[in-house]
Symmetry: C2
Subunit: 347 residues, 2 copies
């Protein structure tokens, strides 16, 4: 079978690899029909060292179950399924508490923790299939496929940001980042009833989509100028909830500048820093809370799917390019160059 | 009148100062009847430089209203009142949202921001009296005085920790710190119905009081040993809510070690650090939230008072020493030396 490998920064290749096969009685083998490139894939694409061993890539996909292990009961051969970006058993204490990304099962974890598997490939072995996979009640050629694929990561991640931030009516929200997650955080904030949604971003095609998703204001300025603009738009008081969908220290600092006293900074951009200000002069003094993390998208799939199936929302609009597996390396390049927002891979 | 001044680390004096007087139409002049020394007073007591100008001290007190400005309507001469440690107008957006410590009124703030006033004194001018002061329905010689005085800071602060942590039934709580705030965080967690309350502290007199307040377990160990002990007591999973009532980096690190994935670290100890780990390897990866700050105790006074008046709880038990104004310097010393948990000052 063919799969995507990253050899180092800027070096993504499609190669023949050994076929994925069932290894555990709880596995499912999935023939992938739709996949995509994630904003988080761009971090290793920018920084991975050539001496690191080649890495299998991809953690968002939809596919058809080809085979299941002897203990799998919730999906069967022929089912169309979506795979969240974290593997979880659905039965441990953490899954019950909605933190599937911290599932206690030894087989659980992120795709990059599973040797020789990845979602940008023709097939994948999915561990803990009963807990991880969710059946989709449509055919693989459904026009809903792009939107359903966002349940795997970006939509669930944007929604997680909004949920962790406690967005509701009367909430003034600011979203930092006009990538796919930021835009779907806008959509999620609107779904949760936010009174005001300020999108901070400077790429007009993207911020236009943000407006379509529900942004009431767009702020292109960054740094102190951006802080002042958001403060101005919030009556001088700042945003109740800041959804930080970038992960850079500059985005965290931006969040500190625009969050309201007593508010929340909810992070879903993977932090590219470890230490940051949280003392009296930043978070503590104004009682600002910090929330977020890798989204347990599995927790949200069932509740987010109906609005996609009904056509009420179309999160799949974040895909502005479509390619096949051979086009994946170009897809990485285009996303890194910001020529594409998010690349859909049809297989 | 006489008041407490800090001249530098370890140098606290009682001196004659100009009488406090009404300056603004929203002020009240309060003759102080009960005051106390705060754990947070011990930070400057340890570090204040002799070249700094002498500072008036104290931010927790009860007293009798002697006079009010022309605009004050909610308290009058002769009323017994408690003063929260933050001045707030009770009318701005932040007060309405329960963050009185971030009140937008220019006269609002902490006591150390008010020149020539302080709570360890015979009297104080209280700005924004209508918003700040709360009448007490007892006489100044009531036996409830120690407990009512805790509404000013330590009980409200412990309660704020528990509220910000989202403590409720089914919550396993760990409290770091056996000072007055830590012990009252234990009491608060019990009031909010916590299933398990693990108190981390090594001073048996204090942890015994913690057990009386509701601690189900006491862990004397610190560092990695303490982490392992708490993990063991929580089925290997960690505490849903960690109430951090110390403020040192070591306490934050302890919190990171014992908090459960998807849990909350709620800080009320004033952080003696600004930067700290919050990236993938600490908060972000396990979706741990960070909450807390200086407690808007004004927000809690009315709801916490009834259980004190009825005798259902006795938070005033944190006072293990009583003195008069002349005894305040010795009170600081005894608290710094951990000979006293918290010193009550009767005037």
């Amino acid at each position: 079978m063919r799969a995507t490998l990253m050899y180092g920064a800027g070096d993504v290749r499609i190669e023949d690899v050994p076929d994925s096969v069932i290894k555990q009685p709880t596995d499912a083998l999935v023939r992938i029909t739709a996949s995509c490139v994630c904003g988080s894939d761009l971090w290793p694409y920018a920084t991975r060292k050539p001496e690191d061993p080649p890495a299998r890539m991809g953690h968002e996909f939809i596919g058809v179950v080809e085979d299941v292990g002897t203990e799998v009961t919730t999906v069967k051969k022929g089912d169309l399924v979506v795979a969240p970006f974290a593997i979880s058993d659905g039965t441990c204490a953490f899954c019950h508490e909605g933190v599937h990304t911290s599932c206690a099962n030894p087989q659980a974890g992120f795709w990059d923790g599973i040797p020789d598997e990845g979602g940008q490939a023709e097939a994948a072995r999915v561990p803990l299939a009963d807990g991880t996979l969710v059946r989709l009640p449509v055919a693989p050629d459904s026009a809903l496929m792009p939107s359903l694929l966002t349940l795997s990561d970006v939509y669930g991640t944007g929604f997680h940001a909004a949920v962790c931030g406690g967005v509701g009516p009367q909430t003034r929200v600011a979203v930092i980042g006009d990538g796919a997650v930021g835009l779907l955080a806008v959509l999620s904030a609107r779904q949760l009833g936010a009174e005001q949604i300020i999108l901070m971003g400077r790429h007009q095609v993207r911020t236009d989509l943000g407006r379509e998703f529900g942004a009431t204001d767009v702020v292109a300025e960054r740094g102190q100028e951006g802080v002042e603009k958001v403060r101005e738009l919030t009556g001088g008081e700042g945003a109740h909830v800041v959804l930080e969908a970038v992960g850079l220290m500059s985005a965290y600092e931006q969040a500190l500048g625009i969050v309201r006293a007593g508010g929340v900074i909810s992070r879903v951009g993977v932090p590219q820093y470890e230490d940051a200000p949280i003392g009296f002069g930043s978070l503590f003094g104004p009682n600002v809370r910090l929330a977020g993390g890798p989204a347990p998208t599995r927790a949200y799939v069932e509740s987010l799917m109906p609005d996609i199936l009904s056509g009420a929302i179309e999160p799949g609009k974040v895909f502005d390019a479509v390619t096949d597996l051979d086009g994946v390396p170009a897809g990485y390049r285009d996303m890194a160059d910001r020529k594409s927002l998010k690349v859909l891979v049809n297989l």
